[in-house]
Amino acid sequence: MAEKRSCPKCEAELPANAPEGLCPRCLMKSARQDTKSAYNAGSEAASDVPTSATPPGKFVPPKPEELAGQFPHLEIIELLGQGGMGAVYKARQKQLDRLVAIKILPPEVEQQAAFAERFTREARSLARLNHPHIVTVFDFGHTAEGLYYFMMEFVEGTDLRHVIQSAKLLPKEALAIIPQICEALQFAHDEGIVHRDIKPENILLDKRGRVKIADFGLAKLLDSSATVHTLTQAGQRMGTPHYMAPEQIEHPDQVDHRADIFSLGVVFYEMLTNELPLGRFSPPSQKVEVDVRLDEVVLRTLEKEPDRRYQHASEVGVDVKTICSDKQAGTKFSPRPKADDDVESVRHRVWIPAVGLLVAGLINCLSVIGAIWGALVPRDAGLLLAIWMAVQTFVIILGAWNLMQLRSYRWAVAGSIFGIISIAFPFGLAMGIWALVLLTKKEVKAAFGQEETEVVIPPRIREFTVSTVKEARMAYGRGKVEVQKIIRETSPDSKESQESDVVAPSKSLGTGIASFILGLVSILILSQSTSFPGKFIGFPFIFIAGVLGVTAIRNIKDYRKHLVETGFAAAGILFAFISAIRLLMK
């Protein structure tokens, strides 16, 4: 038998004395590669033998190629990072063509008592956490080879630890980030889920500057009596205890959601002062230039007794926002935490006058058009008056909208004032006065500034995040940040380069309003002069109004959410259309 066979894998010649006919090199190699993690994963149940060849707690994650076989529906791209809580990989769902993150837990977890049931229970409750500021869990399970995993949304960005260290956060930036974290925490707490491991490494910031909290509930899942879990252990699982609430250390079985609030406070303090609140620490206002009222907030979150802390994460957020939006130092900040119901009740109270103002604005608008059309207005004064009316309309409607959404206080006031002087007498007058009265009330004023969740992060942080993505890797529950080169997608996906909804509203609003005004003006011009010069002047207005209107409409993705902009833009297009017809008919 002189045939020479070669090993299919390494292509070396298979010797005749090959053990069981297998390539000796490959055999030896397969015991060499991954011997550590294979050993961890493959340890027999025999308890008289220590189960790891490596120090306990040290987990060596498999390479992407090795993981790929266990997830046939995924393309495992790269290892993003690891820590005591496991390892995270970037992957792509082949069918959906979407990026996800796969987090695998250390193989030792299999040995914990009743782990499988706890895992399923925990994973199910995590999967219910569907919130823009929480990293969503898509799927979870257990591979054939015994690895427990979570499939989560992939967040391309950086983490707060990195931001704190490198970006040297400004206080106002910190104040913009905190309320988002509070929202997320409140949401989770309402679902009965406590994070237990809030720390800057677990707070991610995506490229759009949005906060995303990761690793909810994992601390509880991995923490069990079967795990060696002492503070002195060198293993990475413990991480830093500085963010842990006192009760987490002293009586861990009595921990509830208020532990998260404590951790939040530590993070908050660190964001403001770049230091940890250890021992006898100074309040933030004594270390950096921040509003004194923040001291109260921070100190209250860091109370040792859970009962003395804020009882709800949302309260912290509201208080922070109140301090930010309320620039008048004289206004006494009430230490009693505001519940979200207060904002809700204000919303109900302003609703009617807001709608009324809107109607007044519309009446204004219609009367303007009617006046022009029916030439009720003397010709010479016509143009100027019409423009003035258009501005009025614009202010009233914008003000009404801001009032209803509790967005900009100033616009609400302006809108109310213009409502009073509007043509829609006495309706506008009544609504305007009502609105103004409400607006002078303190609680109403405070309720303003509840901004949409996406728009808050200051541009500088967003830019930092984007530039950091080029250099840094993502941290998902890691013990320390590893900064390595990231392979950025060379051609930005069309959906990534397109403006997000964050930018669209303001742009579309401006464009829509401009379209509206220009359309109105074009109508006016054409109604004034039928001769050639008029047409000549009027034409560009029609054209630009139309273009702007169409542009605005195209930029708006969700019409229902951006009714005002849509309305203005549509009106602008309509006016342009009408003018165009008049132009052609004459």
Binding site: P19, L22, C26, L27, S30, A31, Y39, P50, E145
Partner: protein
């Protein structure tokens, strides 16, 4: 944190290694101490082939090599050959080769070895296939030392595979072993599980699990085998690397 220290994972490798053959020998330190004879005998009976190969490559014919092998083993079983240095870090493999070289350069010992046995019972070694096995090695140029290491690596693999097979046979799983052993060296996913599932009449999932278990068991057995010949846990990986390199010769 919770105050419960639970399973004591701090039990170091020393606990396990106290029972491996080579550690026993090292700990005993000399032929009269308990455990020395038995452990060393077992080791010698397992790893005689590399010695034989070395001797043959060195220039002795097959009969001489047999004799010297036996004589050498008698010597190390009877006489104090362990040195301080060995007990600290040595691996059995390096010990054996080093001591053999000494043995060969010592005229007196070699002369004595002419007499078979030398008054001691010889180890039960089946030299029958030794020459055939040796002949399989290509004639060109591996030095005796390299050949020693390479044979050692092959011996380790042979023993491991034999153990693995024996285990599965005793579990009535020989067919499984024969069909699935290929996965021990195959590239992941290069051989679809579907075909094997059909051949073995089990589900693909079963194949996957069986392969996984087989791989795990193989690795463990290999590491155990190597552990028998080293002094401490951290030397196992080093030894695997050395043997892997030796196979490339």
């Amino acid at each position: 944190m919770s105050g419960k220290s639970a399973k004591n994972f701090s039990m170091s490798g020393a606990g396990r290694f106290a029972t491996t053959h080579w550690s026993v020998v090292l700990q005993a330190g000399q032929p009269k101490a308990p455990g020395y004879q038995q452990a060393l005998e077992t080791l010698c009976e397992s790893y005689w082939f590399p010695l034989y190969s070395y001797l043959r490559r060195h220039g002795y014919d097959n009969q001489q090599s047999e004799d010297y092998t036996q004589a050498f083993f008698c010597r190390i079983l009877d006489k104090q050959v362990l040195r301080m240095a060995d007990s600290k870090r040595g691996k059995f493999r390096s010990f054996l080769l080093g001591t053999l070289k000494h043995f060969l350069s010592d005229e007196y010992d070699r002369a004595r070895a002419q007499k078979r046995g030398g008054g001691r019972k010889i180890l039960s070694i089946d030299f029958k296939n030794a020459e055939n096995q040796y002949a399989l090695e290509p004639a060109h140029g591996l030095s005796p030392e390299k050949l020693f290491d390479k044979s050692w690596a092959l011996t380790v693999l042979d023993r491991t595979m034999a153990h693995l097979k024996a285990e599965l046979v005793s579990q009535n799983k020989q067919e499984l072993f024969d069909h699935l052993k290929i996965y021990l060296t195959a590239e992941k996913d290069s051989i679809p599980y579907r075909d094997k599932a059909a051949e073995l009449n089990i589900t693909e999932g079963n194949v996957r699990t069986a392969v996984h278990r087989l791989r795990r068991r193989y690795r463990k057995l290999l590491r155990d085998e190597i552990a028998q010949t080293v002094a401490a846990e951290d030397q196992v990986d080093e030894e695997i690397d050395d043997l892997f390199n030796a196979l490339a010769y």
